[in-house]
Symmetry: C2
Subunit: 355 residues, 2 copies
């Protein structure tokens, strides 16, 4: 019944060579004649032998697995469409080459550090994909100290020993702002992610830059930017604050879709119509955003492509290759129904003197 798995010794015996030579043939290293190699591989195939990852791990000091540590409140994570897509992308790169993905989801920074340490100490993975970069991210030093290979999703703000796989958020935000400006909006607000998270900060910078570029940055109340923790709840809170302003914005650029959707909810609750009274844009192009009413104008990031590119790059790093930073095509604006002309522009002439 229980046919024992073939081992390298079985293959060696059957092929009439030594264990070592089978190993050489398998990893096609020089020192094996083409003829012998073929014979060995044929026998291996015949016996249905594939090398044991465990034994390989032990002797060659590699894990044949990559790691991802996600440190976010599960509640926030749950509504964010980014990670499932990212992971699906990673998987498409890993599965064909027999590598595995070790995933760790933790709640706070201490657990995050512990998780990286454990992954490294136990030799679970050969490298990690660092997501959700933060300002002055301590993980870069940590991961380097631990001797793990890594790539970062996005370009860190500090010198990094690791290559980055980059998907630029800025063009998406800039296009969103321009789109709104084209529609006549002048008072445009931004509901930003946490300033400590690099993509939150970068989107905000892109927002500021776009306003400046359009000469829209000198609002009477200064900057209309509110920082949040990326949760729908906080997005709703931020929206309430914005709408309570004496001169409320006519358009809001949100840093992710869940917040934008929550924001639309708040606005509608206030009796505002979207987009007639308030235009709204999201970020990440979630499935739900496509089907709400009105459907959400948002910025589409190819999370799956990103994951695949990052995993592929990391595999190359792990195998000793020297790789450069990789730039993917940037995030793109997807215009739907939640954005429209500034209130008054279609029915009334633009108010004079407001800027």
């Amino acid at each position: 019944m229980a046919k024992a798995r073939a081992t390298i010794a079985d293959v060696a015996r059957e092929a009439g060579v030594s264990k070592g030579l089978v190993s050489f043939a398998l990893n096609d290293r020089p020192g094996v004649s083409a003829h012998t190699r073929d014979r060995i591989l044929a026998v291996a195939k015949d016996l249905g032998w594939s090398p044991s990852v465990r034994a390989r791990s032990l002797s060659s000091d590699r894990a044949f697995a990559l790691g991802v540590v996600i440190a976010r409140n599960p509640e926030i994570l749950s509504s964010d469409p980014f990670f499932p897509a990212l992971i699906a992308g990673i998987e498409t790169a890993l599965a064909p080459v027999g590598q595995a993905l070790v995933l760790s989801m933790v709640g706070d920074a201490d657990a995050e550090t512990a998780s990286y340490r454990q992954l490294a100490a136990h030799g679970r993975v050969d490298g990690v994909i660092i997501t959700d970069l933060r300002l002055n991210d301590p993980r870069l030093a940590l991961v380097e100290e631990l001797g793990l290979a890594a790539v970062t999703l996005g370009r860190p703000d500090i010198p990094s020993p690791f290559p980055s796989v980059n998907l630029d958020d800025a063009p998406g935000i800039r296009d969103a702002v321009r789109h709104l400006a084209d529609l006549g909006h002048v008072r445009i607000a931004h509901v930003a992610g946490p300033a400590t998270m690099l993509h939150g900060a970068r989107r905000r910078e892109a927002f500021d830059a776009a306003l400046r570029e359009l000469g829209l940055d000198a609002g009477p109340d200064g900057c209309l930017v509110i920082e949040t923790d990326f949760s729908a709840a906080d997005g709703a809170r931020a929206t309430r604050e914005l709408l309570a302003l004496p001169e409320r914005p006519t358009a809001i650029v949100y840093s992710n879709d869940p917040m934008a959707i929550a924001g639309m909810g708040v606005a509608q609750r206030d009796g505002l119509r979207v987009p007639e009274d308030l235009s709204v844009t999201g970020f990440d192009d979630s499935d739900v955003g496509r089907h709400i009413n009105p459907s959400l104008t948002t910025v589409s990031t190819a999370a799956q492509v990103w994951g695949e590119a990052a995993a592929t790059a990391l595999l190359r790093v792990v195998s000793g290759e020297q790789i450069d930073h990789i730039e993917l095509s940037p995030a793109l604006l997807v215009v739907r129904e939640s954005t429209g002309p500034r209130p008054g522009t279609t029915t009334r002439p633009p108010e004079p003197g407001t800027t």
Copy 2:
């Protein structure tokens, strides 16, 4: 610089005993005097030694890791709040005991099978948590054939060699239907998940049963149930079909939140107000559902608790324990704003639930 990791041999030498005895002490097996064990453990601690997972894997034929294979379209997955919470729960059970989670996300059934096979063949995991049970699920036989331990999330419809960790959907659906009936609704429809997926089918059954129980099942058009693939897009499609009926339902019970949210979008687009003209309930209690307008009446499943319970149970199975089926407290209805009295009735609406 590179201080080599301590090995069991170092500990043995330092403690003046044999390697074997250190191993015995570590796994506290009989045959080691209490005094010696303490000394060994003290030395181990002193040297900062923890056993190499790789070496342990090889010699003891265990992986010290659990696996989850998720087979869903990433698009559908992205909007589903269930999996991140589930995985976070699994992680809370795994991290403290030094086990790892190997996650695999695949697109189709073939890749799914291949993924289980690879996990088993490579000895990556000791057991798997089987999620998204299907009718007559072929994975039960597959996983058993592969010799993996397993637990299923939910009770399979066929005899299963594995214990199940169960969180009953039915009470949530039943409560939703009763809640709607209490509000005077008579024509209640259901937008179901795929009939091939057990939780889709079970929720539908619960829906049918609740209608029967209330004597509401003899609608003139027969059953108002439409099957979907769980995606927001398909939820929208189903809603359109329901609203196009000559005598349209006044309430719709959706099988998940994204479809309910999409459905509300469709209804509003049709000029219907929610809940004045149409009541809507979801399933899973997503973050976004709490913040849209109107907020979504839904059924809350403790996915995180479920994940933790499943992982804990599987760890016990892996360690040879014989465990029974585990029943968690069932899904609960959370009443919010998207449900109201049947159009035309004068019943006072119940207090909307907070949270």
